[in-house]
Amino acid sequence: MPPRKLPAVDAVMVGFGWTAAIMGLTLTDAGLKVLALERGDWRDTATDFATTFDQDELRYYWRHELFERLSRETLTIRNNPSQTALPMRHLGSFLPGVGVGGAGVHWNGQVWRFLPSDLKARSHNIQRYGRAAVPADMTIQDYPVSYEELEPYYDEFEYLCGISGKAGNLNGKILPGGNPFEGPRAREYPNPPLEMSYPPKLFGEAAASLGLHPFPHPAANMSRAYTNPLGVQLGQCSYCGFCEKYACGNYSKASPQTTVLPVLMRRPNFTLRTGSEVLKVNLDSSGKRATGVTYVNARGEEFEQPAELVILSAFILHNVRLLLLSGIGQPYDPVSGKGQVGRNYAYQITSSVNVFYDDKILNPFIGAGALGMIVDDFNGDNFDHSGKGFIGGGFVGVVQTGARPIETHPTPTGTPAWGSAWKKAFARDYLKTLSIATHGAVMSHRTNYLDLDPTYKDVFGRPLLRMTFDFTDNEHRMSNFLTDRAAEVARAMQPREISVNYRKGSWDVVPYQTTHNTGGAVMSADPGSGVVNRYLQSWNVPNLFVLGSGAFPQNAGYNPTGTVAALTYWSAKAIRERYLASPGPLA
């Protein structure tokens, strides 16, 4: 049966998380009739993650209540093109969300701006360290947008969310207590930093004693009650320690639900249709214009949804896959280097140093997603890379997200993994242990990319996405450098002992690192080096916009959400002020 054709809308958005919430606000403000299609369910604080049950570690983390269901759709994974990719059957390294709000529901709330130099990674590093600093296979490129251009949109997102933090660079003036390395910001954070707990304080004191520059992690966890510019209200964080991988029942963590949806859902020109999975973007016969999307509802019925404007606002992996499935743009070929869709997939590299005390009770069960002290001295190009053999960097710090009891059982190196010795060490150390984390950038590389799998298919018979990814020498050298710096701070904290956990070997899909997948639909200054232009508009199909971290040409040493949101605001403004007046290519 052919799909039933529905009445046209002005704009259809595919996926309903952070980017769609922001884009939906702007487009409805402009008077457009906007439809969001979300394949998951409606989710609401009091109904779906009430305080009476939201701290259920078994249900939410171990049984993946808020994450994608791999039995419906997964992706195949391999480290390099010579291997045969196999389906990921269990979530591990990254945890994409499902349902309204997307991963914006179960994130930690760590909100960063990229450094000005991060956005010029290629030209900046070549200029400072010479051509040899960027090897031939390192396919990094400059973002086609500058920090100065994005600053107002970083600001807008920070005020939407009520970020708790301390400015380090206010209009060029370096302020004590903030991050002195950050790009200049036009105004202070909307809320003061969270109340710092003991472990981050210990880290901050030790880091300062080494001449580093500790500052509070910018947090989407509320240090006090906040009403955002839309009039939506958030409550003060209770430091329960269930942000990461959980939803907040106290309205204390910024999410689409707690910042945007109360306003957006009331607008008569906005519609959300849940249980609606988009199968492809439809093109007209020229292939240069999107006519809408085809989706299937929860009953398995297919619909054609015509729209003047199509916005891909799903998670990066789904946006890239939809481009590939819809035949938009040329798929990337790592051998010839031709094609753009799927190129420059990147990720994050993390490591840690565990610190064990005998004499300090740290109460690690207290926590908030971004409750921490950080040093940025080793991020981006904040330090001299000469002779180090890598570019890029990352932040180092103690973020006390909450030592949830099933997940958290730190024991020193050499402790057996089970049995009475393990129990004894766990009982001795649980209250007296903290962990210093490093959070490093991943540069893009010729053989790290996304394409369609030749073998495996989803429930609708469509090929799965295939991820080909591994850390390169650049990442390992950089991460080892960060880990060594973390260990230096750890020793300065004067503990009983430390254990240093370098990130060794190939990237592994099993242990959790971060859900900071990037690239594959890269933004570029010219059509030959990316999928979308500087306004996230498809080079091939001008009435198609692709939002999210897929636009990152490579990843920086920060969590991506701040930049994802800033780019969305930036794109939305261009659509509203320029595209709607005269639909067509914006760059």
């Binding site: 009091a46 009430a50 009476t52 009039g231 209200q233 109360p262 020109n269 906005f270 849940t274």
Partner: protein, 437 residues
């Protein structure tokens, strides 16, 4: 007892329909237009801009002030199409279709008589579920304006048997006796010794807005107890609190501005609307500032209800309640009950918390509650249900603690009071759900 309760129910149509919605709020997403366009607001977004112009615009505003849509909304959300059920132990009464499909056939005289005397277009008696004991105070000019507006509402054609009451109550003629006993017909007469603002407030509170339909206690036959106006009433397991100037349980501590803020936004520094009042806020939030203020001025002018110092609760129960409060409630309401004004309802010195009758508190703790979303306060903050987590003894203890801490004082709650409301409000006790299908 059953009879008495039934009449109380039937005597106030408005709240009942609302209550059904309110009590399901936490599981039903009333604020979210999922899988459908957000319902187009019935041309009421900014009534203030047009109030006072032509009769149709004025009538539209008056239907908002009277919260007509509250009861006459169809179960599928069509404004004024009727068919919303109210639950009585005798059966189900459905609200009338008052779109132009029906109202175009009504004359101004017929409509005025319906409001004024409780007699329908065909000459038969209406049940006092339709609040004509209040609407009788509406002026002829306002009556005509309301009808003029209703005659412009896009017609909805539907057919349903409104009267599902059983013999003998299905005999509308019985209402003539009820009216003879309790209906005090007559338009509102302004008090020349009071300001125009006060008189406007009195007209709204006592007439069009029919506040007493819920907030005035009822006698055995479901009529207002005239000796206790606006001193709080219980309806279908909700308590509409005391609106007199009583300092502890009434509006005594509220300033005029605070009452205005509450009516316009559903929240103020002292309280948040919940339950049936949450739905009423959908109307009051659209009142002009002048009308909201007039209502506040009138309410503030009323004498305090008699004060009776409650007996202190058992210390052991309070101690048990405190432990539960710290574990389950303090995250939002704070250890000192100060909560987050306008976000999470403060409990400290909150009049609603100290009502003699704890019905609403029990209900909210058992089943949860969602604050109304308004343009000014769009966040529909909600309290989750605790009924699955706390037993009757625990619910009674934590409520007793809240009612007797931080300066609050109110009678202790007994577990059997909790048990009764648990039973009354459990989904299996909702015949109306079946009736709707």
């Amino acid at each position: 007892m059953r009879l008495r309760r039934a009449w109380r129910l039937a005597s106030v149509l408005g709240p009942l329909v609302l209550l059904g919605a309110g009590s399901q709020a936490v599981s039903r997403q009333p604020d979210a237009a999922v899988d459908q366009a957000a319902p187009t607001p019935p041309a009421t977004r900014n009534p203030a801009a047009t109030a006072g112009y032509d009769p149709v615009s004025r009538g539209r505003y008056l239907t908002i002030a009277g919260n007509c849509a509250g009861c006459h909304m169809s179960p599928s959300g069509q404004p004024f199409a009727g068919g919303s059920p109210l639950r009585t132990p005798f059966g189900v009464v459905l609200s009338a279709n008052i779109t132009s499909a029906v109202m175009r056939d009504w004359s101004q005289g017929q409509f005025y008589r319906a409001l004024h005397e409780g007699v329908g277009g065909g000459g038969s008696h209406l049940y006092p579920a339709f609040p004509y004991p209040y609407y009788t105070r509406i002026t002829r000019a306002d009556s005509d304006a309301i009808l003029a507006y209703l005659q412009t509402v896009p017609p909805v054609y539907n057919r349903f048997d409104r009267n599902k009451l059983k013999f003998p109550l299905n005999n509308r003629g019985l209402m003539a006796f009820w009216n003879a006993l309790f209906l005090k017909k007559g338009e509102f007469r302004p008090d020349p010794n009071r300001s125009a603002e006060w008189n406007r407030g009195a007209y709204l509170v006592e007439g069009l807005a029919h506040c007493g339909a819920c907030h005035t206690p009822k006698n055995l036959l479901g009529a207002d107890r005239r000796s206790a106006p606006l001193q709080g009433g219980v309806l279908d397991d909700w308590l509409a609190p005391d609106l007199t100037s009583n300092n502890r349980i009434g509006l005594g501590r509220w300033s005029t501005d605070e009452i205005v803020e509450y009516l316009k936004t559903g929240r103020n520094a002292r309280a948040s609307a919940s339950g049936a009042m949450g739905e009423v806020i959908a109307s009051t939030s659209q009142l002009t500032d002048a009308d909201a203020r007039a209502m506040a001025v009138y309410l503030k002018s009323r004498a305090a209800s008699p004060e009776a110092a409650p007996r202190p609760p058992p210390a052991e129960q309070v101690r048990a309640g405190e432990a539960i409060f710290v574990d389950e409630c303090a995250g939002c309401h704070r250890m000192d009950g100060s909560a987050e004004p306008r976000m999470f309802s403060p409990l400290r010195e909150n009049a609603a918390v100290q009502q003699r009758d704890p019905t609403t508190l029990i209900r909210i703790v058992l089943n949860g509650s969602r604050a109304p979303a308004t343009d000014a306060r769009p966040t529909p903050t909600a309290m989750p249900a605790f009924g699955w987590k706390l037993n009757d003894r625990e619910v009674a203890a934590v409520i007793t603690y809240v009612r007797n801490s931080w300066g609050n004082a109110a009678p202790a709650v007994r577990p059997r009071q909790v048990a009764k409301i648990r039973e009354d409000t459990s989904p299996s006790a909702w015949p109306l759900l079946k009736a709707q299908r």
